[in-house]
């Protein structure tokens, strides 16, 4: 009961005071579902989403001294997650251009959401657009925050949001996003998104 009612801010204040495991668990349980949703949708892969969430918590706890109370912790921590994801992509030499469609490059990303058209469509949108649509429209970040997180101009964030939305809409209207490269679908993964 306490976990469900206690605010993230209260749990955070408690953890900052004692840095204990029990306090951390409270905070973790309040914040992680949102981080997990973002990680899964950005990466499209459960294994990679786990890596992202782990790395995010590691950096968040390490960097807690730099967190300002004026910011929302959810915004701050999801920002860390986005940067981790962005770095991970950059470090993989086969994904230079985040604004480029990746029809066949990441087939695993599409497996996990076979039965959810919208989630599938999201994963079929180029990663850069996807990140902006997700961050702005689903996770409530401002263009200024997105620009900072992805190291792009505010204007770019705005224009790419419009493009990302158009791409998503057209994929949804087409009804069959990303082709049918889901032959070896892992059903437990797709159920996990439901």
């Amino acid at each position: 009961v306490i976990e469900s009612i206690e605010s993230i801010e209260a749990a955070l204040a408690r953890f900052r005071r004692d840095r204990g495991e029990r306090s951390f668990r409270r905070l973790y349980r309040l914040v992680t579902p949102r981080l997990w949703g973002l990680a899964l949708r950005l990466s499209g892969d459960r294994g990679r989403a786990e890596e992202l969430v782990q790395e995010t918590w590691l950096r968040a706890v390490r960097g807690l001294g730099g967190f300002e109370d004026r910011a929302r912790f959810t915004t701050w921590s999801s920002g860390i997650l986005v940067r981790c994801w962005w770095e991970l992509r950059r470090d993989r030499s086969d994904h230079h251009d985040p604004w480029q469609e990746e029809e066949a490059i990441e087939p695993r990303e599409r497996r996990i959401v076979e039965r959810l058209d919208l989630e599938r469509a999201l994963l079929a949108v180029a990663p850069g657009y996807r990140a902006i649509v997700l961050l702005h429209d689903l996770y409530g970040h401002t263009h200024e925050e997105i620009a900072r997180l992805l190291a792009i101009e505010v204007g770019t964030s705005k224009s790419q949001l419009a493009r990302g939305r158009r791409a998503l809409r057209s994929l949804l209207e087409a009804g069959e996003p990303g082709g049918s490269d889901t032959t070896d679908t892992d059903t437990t993964d797709s159920e996990a998104m439901a």
Partner: protein
């Protein structure tokens, strides 16, 4: 480009309106994250120790209820009549970082200590009431100020005294202070 955009930039995208931002993470992830933080020395063990201390503190303060009943209804021999001191003060008992709760084999000793102190107050006609607080709590609204831990208040007494200083002397002689606990003394405003 903007004239082709069908909606206000700041509005949400209608397609995503019903999509939940949060998704249930795999249960095993919590343990992995904690293990990783532990291996980096980013979690203290203080919480576990404090939790144990917390439990024992609550046990030790079990005396609260019984002590007050003794004061109210058993009429400890020699108890002075109430309201000879003029003012009512609240003694707020906190565990505090230095509070050493009784180890389990000496719990009875600790309880006897609190009981002895309280009976002394009852004889002096000082104890008006007192309650031990349960260790479950809910916190709503803004976070507590730095330094105050939710659930850190263990219990309280309302006692009679002639002044804030006099009430503080009573509190200073309590076993709670002797064992490293903190007591905040406040005058009850309605008694002014």
């Amino acid at each position: 480009m903007r004239e082709h955009e069908p909606q206000d930039d700041d509005a949400g995208f209608e397609c995503l309106a019903d999509v939940p931002a949060a998704l249930p993470p795999p249960p095993e992830l919590e343990g992995r994250v904690i293990e990783r933080l532990r291996s980096q020395g980013l979690l203290t063990k203080g919480a576990a120790i404090r939790r144990r201390g917390w439990l024992l503190a609550a046990v030790a303060l079990g005396i609260f209820g019984t002590g007050v009943v003794v004061g109210r209804s058993l009429a400890v021999p020699g108890a002075a009549p109430r309201a000879t001191y003029g003012q009512t003060y609240a003694l707020l008992l906190y565990a505090g970082p230095a509070f050493a709760a009784a180890v389990s084999e000496r719990e009875a000793e600790r309880v006897a200590e609190y009981r002895g102190w309280m009976e002394g107050l009852v004889r002096q006609g000082r104890v008006a009431s007192g309650e031990k607080l349960d260790d479950r709590f809910l916190l709503v609204g803004e976070p507590l100020p730095e330094g105050l831990e939710p659930g850190g208040l263990l219990g309280f007494f309302l006692i009679e005294a002639t002044s804030l200083e006099s009430a503080a002397q009573v509190a200073a002689a309590s076993p709670h202070v002797r064992h490293g606990g903190s007591v905040e003394i406040r005058q009850v405003a309605s008694g002014r």
